[in-house]
Amino acid sequence: MMRRFRAATVALSAIVGVVLMAQAPMAGQATAPASKAAPAKTTSAGKPWTPSRTPDGKPDLQGIWGNATVTPLERPKGLGAKEFYTDEEFAKLSQHIRQGEVGEEAELGAARENDLRYDTSLYGGFDITKARFASNKRTSLIVGPEGVIPPMLPEAKQRNAERVAKNKGHEFDSYENRPLSERCILMAQEMIPMLPAAGEGNLLQIVQGPGYVAFLHEIDHSTRVIPTDGRSHIPQNIRQWQGDSVGHWEGDTLVVDTTNFTARSAFKGSGEKLHLVERFTRNADDQITYQFTAEDPTTWAKPWSAEIPMAKTDGPVYEWACHEGNTMISTILRGARVTEEEAAKKEEK
């Protein structure tokens, strides 16, 4: 109990940090659609901030970045088409967050005491207050007047319901019935598009070579080496958990296009027709604006977009060897077999 409390306190101070570090929205940002590059910050002299360049002349996105934020993915009900808080509203919200009095207007993740899954003090020396966050005054990560994921198409609902129904009652039969994250095949925080995870597993290291940008997610050492030489996707019959990503530069923005997903990759219920466009714009020394548009005509009636600020952090990125240390699957299955044996013995008596 004491430990839980301490962890919650630590997490809460991290949130205070978020709010204090929150950036004021830039002029024009409120109207910038997600499909356009986020405007660069202006310096005190009023000149737009320009990114430094790699030796081969591309905008330098390199470094270790974290996407922790308290902004919820979907807009809280009742805010309607309101995309941004006013300064006054934001100040009030910040105060409420400091006091822990927030509803759906802030995604506290692990910091919400009821949702606390991990006791960070167990990591020994892991100090969440040292993590850096970026934020803006958006009411939700999803941009646009609706601010929510478009309603799922009936065929997608059916597809997903069938999948769940098929597994029902068989959850402990085999490793195949366990979630992909438990099997170390695809964990939530390594999936693309990259959605924030409050407090853990949100580090992304970017390294650029001539003609390539490499993204290394700390979670499960998931790596994408993205060619930016204008080549096309790999043949459509080759499907990959993380799809196939190719990129190009549009001005100072890196645009990454991903297709070739498997039917089982399922981002928010999507199918294998998922098409992602991600945009990375470094708009300050310590900030990248990450935007994505998700499109899948077999899942949603229309595409939807989100914008997530990423803040520079020091790292290091640790090695996340999930499969190598996975005792979860064998423990769960062994437990199920023992339970079955015991039940069978009882029946015999």
Partner: protein, 272 residues
């Protein structure tokens, strides 16, 4: 007596050979090839590379042999190879040579590659899968196809590992044409090959990547581990560029290929 005489004569020949070798300049001293430069003036190692040998089967020289699964016949038999160890033999401490033999006898049960575990260094370099070097000034990222393994090499002032890991901690620097990477803090769970060659957590590897032509690198790794070997030893081999225009590192997330092996016995038995 006769044997002794033969032995000392052979030793004498060896000394003469060694002298001759010492007299001729080593390739590292007078590089025959100068690699194209990156925009910041370093030898350009960017690209997708792959070893073309049987080192992952056995670092030491070996004859062809039957594979572990009879039903796979010639498809997964062990191909022959001359070996990549300088001096041909890995200098195990006597007790450790026995452990190597035991590993080899229980290969498929114990080899971390069979289980899709991260491969460690140097094995990652000569697994039969390509890897890509993404070379920047301060960091060099190496993305391996096998198991999606990855390393980030720090090219700045050397830093200390925060913890032991499967892929170790890599600090690099340039020595003329050569990228030298000092790899420490690997755990003792990885192997060198499918023949049970192994190490402890005292492993220290120094890798050297030297361009030898537009499409080949020379790869050397000096291996030091006083708990397992009587002296440092070295492997060397060429690495070849994957010159296909559309060459890519594809996804090889192998945990799912090892699940039946690891968890199969814990499946629910079909009820009769």
């Amino acid at each position: 007596m006769e044997n002794w005489l033969k032995g000392s004569m052979m030793a004498g020949v060896a000394v003469v050979c060694a002298l001759l070798l010492t007299a001729s300049p080593s390739p590292a001293q007078t590089p025959a090839y100068r690699a194209p430069r990156t925009a910041d003036g370093k030898p350009d190692l960017n690209g997708i590379w792959q070893a073309l040998n049987t080192a992952d089967w056995d670092l030491e020289g070996h004859a062809a042999a039957m594979g572990p699964v009879a039903s796979l016949g010639a498809v997964f038999a062990k191909p022959p190879g001359l070996g990549v160890v300088e001096g041909d033999e890995i200098p195990y401490l006597p007790a450790m040579a026995a452990k190597k033999k035991e590993n080899q006898a229980n290969w498929t049960k114990l080899d971390p590659e069979v289980k899709c575990f991260l491969p460690g260094v140097p094995r990652a370099a000569y697994l039969p899968y390509p890897f890509q070097i993404v070379q920047s000034r301060d960091k060099i990222l190496i993305s391996y196809e096998y198991a999606g393994a990855v390393r980030t090499i720090n090219m700045g002032a050397p830093t200390k590992a925060p913890a032991d890991s499967w892929m170790g901690w890599s600090n690099g620097h340039w020595e003329g044409e050569t990228l030298v990477i000092d790899v420490t803090d690997q755990n003792d769970n990885t192997w060198f090959d499918r023949s049970g060659n192994f190490h402890s957590d005292a492993l220290h590897v120094v890798e050297r990547y030297t361009p030898r032509s537009a499409d080949t690198l020379n790869y050397e790794a000096t291996i030091e581990d006083s708990k397992v070997f009587s002296r440092p030893w070295k492997i060397s081999m060429p690495l070849y560029r994957r010159v296909e225009k559309n060459a890519r590192i594809l996804e090889y997330k192998c945990p799912e290929f090892a699940e039946e092996l690891l968890y199969g016995p814990l499946r629910k038995k079909p009820s009769n």
